[in-house]
């Protein structure tokens, strides 16, 4: 299957909600697995809120594309040049005292996707997120076991 769809949303908090609805509609229309929905929703929430916070973009284009088993989402805006992938990564192994909330979102965008690319072309920021669909997510990593009581 090879299909794509473009949706334009305003660069506002309402636009972030519209983007989430557009993603739901695309996932529903093509019967994509739940893991694709939540991964892209979490990533898109971060990317759109970043654009709204930093960008000064009045409109944001979302290009959803499904190419066989690869789902991609390209977010394009005319805001100031901003590459979120260059942001410093927070220390995700720090204890509670040293934890800062900033930067976690971009860590999630990077790690929830197979690939993320940023490009400045002309007056536009293009951020493309790519994920190959799996029937089910792999089991959660073993690292969590120490903190869980399975009773």
């Amino acid at each position: 299957m090879n299909t794509s769809q473009t949706v334009t949303v305003p660069g506002t908090r309402e636009g972030v909600q519209s983007g989430a609805r557009a993603l739901d509609a695309f996932v529903d229309a093509h019967g994509l697995p739940p893991s694709a929905r939540w991964r892209f929703q979490v990533a898109l929430d971060e990317v759109l809120s970043n654009v709204v916070r930093h960008g000064g973009a009045t409109m944001i284009d979302l290009l959803f594309a499904l190419d066989n088993d690869v789902l991609s989402l390209e977010v394009t805006d005319r805001g100031a040049a901003f590459d979120p992938l260059q942001a410093a990564a927070p220390d995700t192994s720090a204890g509670l005292d040293d934890r800062r909330p900033g930067g976690l979102g971009i860590v999630l965008v990077r790690t929830l996707m197979d690939a993320v690319r940023y490009e400045r072309r002309g007056a536009h920021n293009h951020l493309t997120m790519i994920w190959r669909l799996r029937p089910d997510d792999e089991p959660a990593p073993a690292a969590e076991k120490g903190t869980t009581n399975d009773d």
Partner: protein, 113 residues
């Protein structure tokens, strides 16, 4: 997202239902801050009804963990679904929280503190 709340064995159980994202996380934050203001010191957050959590929600939980520690309270999370657990894991959040499989276990944990 809606927020369900029940009291059991001296603990308050907060159960958000739906999506915790940049649109809804402020409401969860206000709810949790109000509980702290009301002197609730034993808190369980039940994720059984949560579809997913984004970084905006992680921010709320980090603030809750710090408030709980500073106020000498007790906090446990329970019933993390696959998506929530993976996001916690990727963000390095699992070591920061007491996580239980069931609501009963989480209540027992905070009641014992």
């Amino acid at each position: 997202m809606t927020i369900e709340e029940v009291r059991q064995r001296g603990a308050v159980v907060v159960a958000p239902v739906g999506r915790i994202d940049s649109t809804t996380s402020d409401r969860l934050e206000q709810h949790l801050v109000a509980l702290a203001g009301a002197g609730e010191r034993r808190v369980v957050v039940d994720f059984g009804g949560v579809e997913y959590i984004s970084s905006a929600g992680l921010r709320v939980l980090l603030a809750l963990a710090k408030r709980t520690r500073d106020g000498k309270g007790a906090l446990a999370l329970c019933r993390l679904g696959d998506s929530v657990r993976q996001v916690f894991d990727l963000a390095g959040f699992l070591p920061l929280f007491a996580v239980d499989a069931t609501r009963d276990a989480a209540i027992a944990r905070v009641a014992a503190v």
